[in-house]
């Protein structure tokens, strides 16, 4: 356990308790709501009444989705796509963030500005050219076609840069004088200190991509390549969303993200900070 970094003596315990209660309550609500929806029958959905705890719990909803669509395949697709993208981000974003944070070279500022600029055009505006490009590459309806457009992100690189910047330069300079290569410095000095940042990157990238809808919607053209998000729309009616089954799918989107969060959680606490300083 690391040293406490903030002290609460100045805030009364009661106040902290109140603040946390409000946020925790607001945060569990959607989960409980999703759980309730996922157990409702069609009659509950259409009744027009507010159903909080359904009279009959329709556990069969959790079976229906497997019967109505190739859901195992949707789940597998979601994991391959979001997992593949996350791995690429972990490989590329930190090292590029390091170059921007700690290396002086002509063009650093301009290229960093260009990188930020990539965040400023909404994705859907690139959608059509991106689709034409992917079609020309013959990658429609393939995993690489779904993964490659998200292989790196300005967001991830920017995040890494901001986490690397506070790491003292003395360490890096000392290593450079000793003749260490930049890659070595990155691996030996920077990476060990980036654990909380990497955990954040993994979590945010995976969650975001796991829930991505628009690109799989257009780049997939067969039912078996759909991820969970676009697969779920198969259950809907022309003018109605089949909310109970959508909520079951929502649970399937939620649980892996929660497990990942719990798995990453320890890296937020047990970072071996600055061991090289001593």
């Amino acid at each position: 356990m690391s040293t406490q970094k903030t002290d609460h003596n100045f805030l009364s315990r009661a106040m902290i308790f109140t603040i946390l209660s409000v946020f925790v309550l607001a945060a569990v609500l959607p989960f409980l709501y999703m759980l309730s929806l996922s157990l409702q029958g069609d009659a509950d959905l259409f009744s027009g009444k507010v159903v909080i705890i359904p009279e009959t719990l329709h556990f069969e909803n959790y079976l229906t989705i497997w019967e109505k669509a190739p859901f195992a395949r949707f789940i597998l697709n979601s994991f391959i796509i979001a997992g593949g993208i996350t791995i690429l981000h972990v490989i590329f974003d930190p090292i590029i963030g390091y170059v921007f944070a700690k290396m002086d070279f002509p063009g650093n500022k301009i290229m960093f500005a260009a990188l930020l600029a990539t965040l400023m055009i909404p994705f859907f505006i690139r959608l059509v050219p991106l689709y034409v490009l992917t079609a020309k590459m013959g990658w429609l309806d393939t995993y690489q076609g779904l993964i490659m457009p998200f292989a790196m992100s300005g967001f991830g690189i920017f995040l890494m840069r901001q986490f690397i910047m506070p790491i003292p330069d003395d360490l890096i300079d000392a290593a450079r004088i000793d003749g260490a290569s930049e890659l070595r410095i990155f691996i030996d000095i920077i990476l060990p200190q980036l654990r909380p940042a990497l955990a954040t990157l993994v979590l945010l990238t995976f969650v975001f991509q796991f829930n991505e809808f628009l690109w799989p919607l257009v780049a997939v053209s067969s039912e078996t390549m759909r991820p969970i998000t676009t697969g779920l729309t198969l259950f809907n009616q022309e003018f109605f969303t089949q909310w109970n089954l959508t909520a079951v799918g929502g649970m399937l989107l939620f649980l892996p993200c929660l497990i990942l969060f719990v798995a990453m959680q320890r890296y937020f606490v047990s970072s071996v900070m600055m061991s090289g300083m001593k």
């Binding site: 970094k5 002290d7 925790v24 070279f105 690139r126 050219p129 790196m152 979590l203 959508t246 606490v269």
Partner: protein, 292 residues
């Protein structure tokens, strides 16, 4: 080869994959969009002809675009500021001695990982003027029920609230990660020097969180300036176009109206505005802390 040249070469070698990737997947498509923004007709889909700056001139006359631009600024600034203030407070609390803090951290992150399609439905149902929990609560307390989302003067603020609710866990997560990254020695040294506990946060944590604050301010603001799913799922842009955020306007121009030329022009106008706002944020928040 001088040391400097060698380092420049190393830097570019390390950047090479990124340069390749961003050229193919960003620069290319964006250049095509720019080409489209200078054309009328059906650029990219069918016939089109060169139209100079006509599409850009149209933005000046497009009343809906102006209305949505104002709504977007209010929405983005409001939700970014509130999200960051809440997140900073929460991360300060959760980095300290709190019971069950790991569980609380996980729970606070829920709204970000629950599919937003469900989250939006939940809020619509809670805010429903006739059967929603919120109005039932108001009635119970003897207060007047409100038309939350069906009131053009209020709907946008409701969306700000929902967006804060959704993003605060994510911003808190990043702040906590950053606080964990601050060397313990700095605190130990300050304590030995006799610093009071309450000053530790102000004098050490807060300044060292500047890069993170800058990051969050920039990233959250950019995301909010491009927000589309919230109005798309909750209000459809109404009532009376009061929640028609700019991206929704662009999206409908592109995909409902097949007008990719004008939609591209609209996005470049937005791009310039985001660039300006981001530049201001850097000027305000950027401190060179490499040598602290």
């Amino acid at each position: 080869m001088t040391y400097r040249t060698r380092r420049t070469l190393t830097a570019y070698a390390l950047l090479a994959p990124a340069i390749l990737y961003f050229s193919v997947y960003f620069a290319g498509p964006i250049l095509i969009e720019f080409w489209a923004s200078l054309r009328s007709g059906q650029p990219m889909i069918g016939q089109s002809e060169f139209a100079g700056l006509d599409n850009y001139a149209e933005i000046l006359r497009d009343r809906l675009a102006h209305k949505s631009m104002v709504a977007t600024l209010v929405y983005a600034i409001g939700s970014t500021v509130i999200t960051l203030v809440f997140a900073l407070g929460l991360s300060a609390i959760l980095s300290g001695p709190v019971r069950a803090k790991n569980t609380i951290r996980a729970i606070i992150f829920f709204p970000y990982i629950v599919s937003f399609v469900i989250g939006a439905l939940m809020w619509k149902s809670i805010l429903d003027p006739y059967s929603g929990l919120l109005n039932s609560g108001l009635l119970y307390l003897g207060l007047e029920p409100q038309n939350w989302l069906a009131d053009p003067s209020r709907a946008l603020y409701v969306l700000i609230g929902v967006s804060v609710w959704k993003d605060v866990g994510y911003a808190t997560l990043i702040y906590i990660a950053a606080i964990q990254g601050i060397p313990d020695q700095l605190y130990d040294a300050a304590r030995i020097d006799g610093a009071k506990p309450r000053h530790l946060f102000r004098d050490i944590t807060l300044p060292l969180l500047m890069p993170t604050t800058l990051f969050l301010a920039v990233v959250v603001m950019i995301a909010h300036l491009q927000e589309i799913s919230l109005p798309y799922l909750m209000t459809g842009g109404g009532p009376a176009n009061s929640t028609r955020l700019y991206s929704l306007h662009v999206y409908e121009t592109a995909f409902k109206d097949f007008d990719l030329g004008y939609a591209s022009a609209l996005s470049f106008a937005m791009f310039v505005m985001i660039l300006l706002i981001t530049w201001i944020q850097f000027k305000l928040l950027h401190r060179d802390i490499r040598h602290t």
